[in-house]
């Protein structure tokens, strides 16, 4: 693949601009407003009986490349990457039937589920951890979703290759007594108000495009009447180049769910939140809103402040561990692999600003952002000015909390340090980069080689959180 050389900051800004503008419904009303679509999508609702079809397709990467993929489709629907997120209610008897249209046998394993039984299929070959569905065959897996939490489902056959090719997805088991809680205790409740549920998935994965190209070639050869080579690439040569959250690489990660220009990649990873009046995060940034906030009259109004945190479910189906960093913030770890650390009886939750999500692991966190300093241009101005031109130190932003307003470097700065206000940049550049004075903060893999698309930064395993001004969610 030819590497192109652009001014990084320019192309980056352009990409982010496009992504953000396409993300946000404009205020003018002149353009028809599209419903904003973010957070977890439960493809099956809560239906305990699900059909999946293993098939192939293509995804797009922001550097212009397309990658040949395998994956699970919902029912016999269109190819999608990753597989459909499946949601079950705790205690449900789950039945998942797999139909296989790929040229080799596939299966599904369910890490974290116990007592999985199988019917149909064609035994367990030497390269499989579970009963397989042969090409054009089917198999059914049954289990009781006995624990609330976040889980993987993935191929258990020729596992390294089939998982690499995309045969995986997420399972969310919701507590029976609280559909907006991560675990049984209401202490794990997440926000569900304006716009929908603040329940987010971050399913982490990797792509070695050479491996996918080798498999594509083998499949094409087979389709043309040749012999099928099930191992055209050896895992000892594995060298991932693309890094993904929910099947997309940044900046596609911040596009909405069901973005029309990503037809086979339906899931975004943008966290879209309002500030919280109080924080559930123990430690450094677990602050409450400072007095002086003229919105104190609205602290209990969910249209202004989230009354509950957001839930972020981090899942890693790659071969490497990925350290997810909510830059400038902490998250509160409340559960691992379907085991709650926060219950009615105990609180073993703890804050982290870097979550090492190991391979095959699920980390459930709660996250909120409080407008701690409540900077206001009239009543509580930012103590120092903002360095808007690099090298110009006369207007220097020194408050470490306000530094979090800058995304990537001073070249991307919305123009105003105040949540809810817009302003032009002092250097006379184009108008504000945001729509209604919202803030953007970055979440990324802190293995910074993964914050890239084929070694071109910024890309890969990055997403953003978007904090809307109180009372103006989605710039309404």
């Amino acid at each position: 693949m030819r590497k192109t050389h652009f001014s990084r900051s320019r192309i980056f800004r352009a990409l982010v601009m496009v992504a953000i503008l396409l993300t946000v419904a404009p205020l003018s009303g002149a353009i028809a407003q599209t419903p904003y679509d973010f957070g977890v999508i439960c493809e099956n609702g809560t239906a305990p009986a699900v059909e999946l079809t293993a098939k192939d397709g293509y995804i797009s990467i922001p550097d212009g490349n397309t990658v040949y993929m395998w994956g699970f489709a919902f029912g016999n629907g269109d190819y999608q990457h990753p597989g459909p997120t499946l949601c079950f209610t705790e205690g449900a008897s789950v039945s998942i039937t797999l139909h296989n249209t790929l040229p080799e046998s596939v299966s599904i394993i369910f890490p974290g589920q116990t007592g999985v039984t199988t019917s149909g299929g064609n035994g367990v070959p030497a390269n499989s951890l579970a009963v397989v569905a042969d090409p054009n065959g089917s198999v059914t897996y049954n289990f009781t979703a006995s624990r609330a939490g976040t889980f993987l489902y993935e191929s258990g056959t020729s596992l390294q290759k089939q998982v690499q090719m995309g045969l995986f997805g997420a399972i969310i088991v919701r507590p029976a007594n609280c559909s907006t809680c991560v675990y049984d205790s209401t202490k794990t409740q997440f926000n569900s108000s304006v716009g929908g549920n603040n329940d987010y998935l971050m399913l982490l994965s990797e792509i070695d495009p050479d491996w996918h190209a080798a498999v594509e070639e083998a499949v094409n050869e087979f389709a043309a009447g040749g012999t099928y080579n099930p191992q055209p690439f050896s895992v000892v040569d594995y060298h991932p180049r693309y890094w993904q959250i929910n099947g997309r690489s940044f900046p596609d990660t911040i596009a909405p769910n069901h973005a029309s220009w990503l037809p086979t990649q339906p899931y975004g990873a943008l966290l879209h939140i309002l500030p919280s009046a109080q924080s559930v995060i123990h430690g450094a940034d677990g602050f409450n809103v400072a007095s002086g906030d003229p919105n104190t009259a609205h602290l209990a109004d969910p249209n202004y402040y989230q009354q509950y945190p957001s839930a972020v479910r981090m899942l890693n189906v790659g071969m490497r561990n990925h350290p997810i960093h909510p830059h400038g913030n902490h998250v509160q770890i409340i559960g691992r692999d379907g085991h709650a650390l926060l219950t009615d009886a105990i609180d073993q939750s703890y804050p982290k600003f870097d979550v090492m999500v190991g391979a095959g692991q699920a980390w459930d966190v709660l996250y909120d952002w409080t407008n701690k300093d409540y900077y206001n241009p009239d009543t509580n101005p930012v103590p120092f000015g903002v360095e808007t031109v690099q090298g110009d130190t006369t207007d220097r932003l020194l408050d470490p909390h306000a530094l979090n307003l800058l995304f990537k470097d001073p070249n991307f700065f919305s123009g105003s340090p105040y949540l809810g206000y817009q302003a032009n940049k002092n250097d006379g550049a184009a108008a504000s980069y945001n729509e209604c004075g919202e803030y953007y903060q970055i979440w990324h893999s802190h293995a910074l080689d993964e914050a890239a698309n084929y070694e071109a930064g910024f890309g890969g395993m990055i997403t953003l959180e978007r904090i809307d001004p109180p009372g103006h969610f989605n710039c309404q």
Partner: protein, 325 residues
């Protein structure tokens, strides 16, 4: 509570290898001292009060021939108890009771300096000098409960020596049948020594550049699946898995179909255990996990997916089967 089962005869264990678990059986009654366990840790009796002095000899020896899972052979180095040529990478599992004075004498059968790192033992600073070829050196410490790694220390070629097979496990009991205390009792314990082999290093240790280190074989207790020794326990047994990562990369060890309760790391008990499907064991680190599952077969494997033998399209590598009967 626990059922009494017949004590089956233990297989004699090769001092150069970890004990291979055969049929597992254990006897545990309230207040009794455990009499036997068919785990892969050498038998020892720790009554919880008396201490003694234990002395071990480790001979660092090169030029062993080892057959990999795909029937290729490599040269390996290892620790033997008597100066013989190793037949596998790694060294014997050392055992002690908490409070014991342990003396480990390193005998250097290599052509270069070597030292011993006994990670997690107090009072043993990093030894970057070690013993010269042909010489010996004794390391002494007071044992504390837990699961530990020992390996070639940081002499000039220490990292290569560790990658070639100079590593092993140390297990210390506070009392029989306890990992750290009465709340972490177990019926069967198994060391899971995780390691790696890059055949290119083993073929030419002197000239190999460690920048190129890229393992192709992944082992548990010196074997790759399907040759890994499985673990078989009776239903109702609390199984303690003692992970020891002697490799150079992290391994997220996962269990399919049953849960692990992670109780300790580096020989330090967590204030509270936490459940996990897969938990990362970083290089040089150890992890203790309790498993109690109903009858069935449970694959235990590296979720970082090092479950192949040099890339072959068949299950291999860092995986074994736990059978509960």
């Amino acid at each position: 509570m626990q059922t009494k089962t017949q004590i089956l005869p233990r297989r004699l264990f090769d001092s150069r290898r970890l004990l291979v678990a055969g049929l597992a059986a254990c006897v545990l009654t309230l207040g009794a001292i455990i009499a036997a366990h068919a785990a892969n840790v050498p038998a020892i009796t720790c009554d919880g009060t008396s201490t003694t002095t234990r002395s071990y000899d480790l001979w660092a020896e090169p030029n062993g021939t080892f057959t990999l899972a795909d029937n290729t052979t490599v040269t390996v180095w290892g620790y033997t108890t008597d100066g013989s040529v190793p037949t596998a990478p790694g060294g014997p599992t050392l055992v002690a009771c908490a409070g014991d004075t342990v003396n480990v004498t390193l005998h250097n059968g290599l052509a270069e300096d070597t030292s011993l790192a006994l990670h997690g033992q107090a009072g043993l600073p990093a030894d970057m000098i070690g013993a010269a070829s042909g010489a010996s050196k004794t390391y002494s410490f007071t044992a504390r409960p837990g699961t530990f790694l020992y390996q070639a220390g940081l002499t000039a070629n220490g990292p290569k020596q560790a990658a070639l097979g100079l590593y092993g496990a140390l297990v210390v009991y506070p009392a029989n049948g306890q990992a750290y205390n009465a709340n972490t009792a177990f019926g069967d314990d198994n060391v899971l020594l995780l390691s790696e082999i890059d055949p290119a290093l083993n073929a030419d240790p002197v000239n190999f550049d460690m920048h190129d280190y890229a393992p192709k074989y992944w082992l548990i207790n010196g074997k790759s699946y399907p040759q890994t020794a499985g673990i078989t326990v009776a239903a109702g047994t609390n199984l303690l898995l003692r992970y020891v990562n002697a490799g150079f990369t992290e391994h997220s060890m996962g269990l399919l179909g049953a849960d692990q309760s992670i109780i300790a790391t580096n020989g330090n008990l967590y204030p509270a255990a936490h459940g996990a499907v897969a938990e990362t064991v970083p290089p040089g680190d150890t992890l203790d996990a309790l498993v109690s599952a109903p009858a069935g077969q449970y694959p235990l494997y590296d979720a970082n997916q090092h479950i192949d033998n040099s890339g072959a399209d068949s299950l291999g590598g860092m995986m074994l089967l736990i059978t509960v009967q």
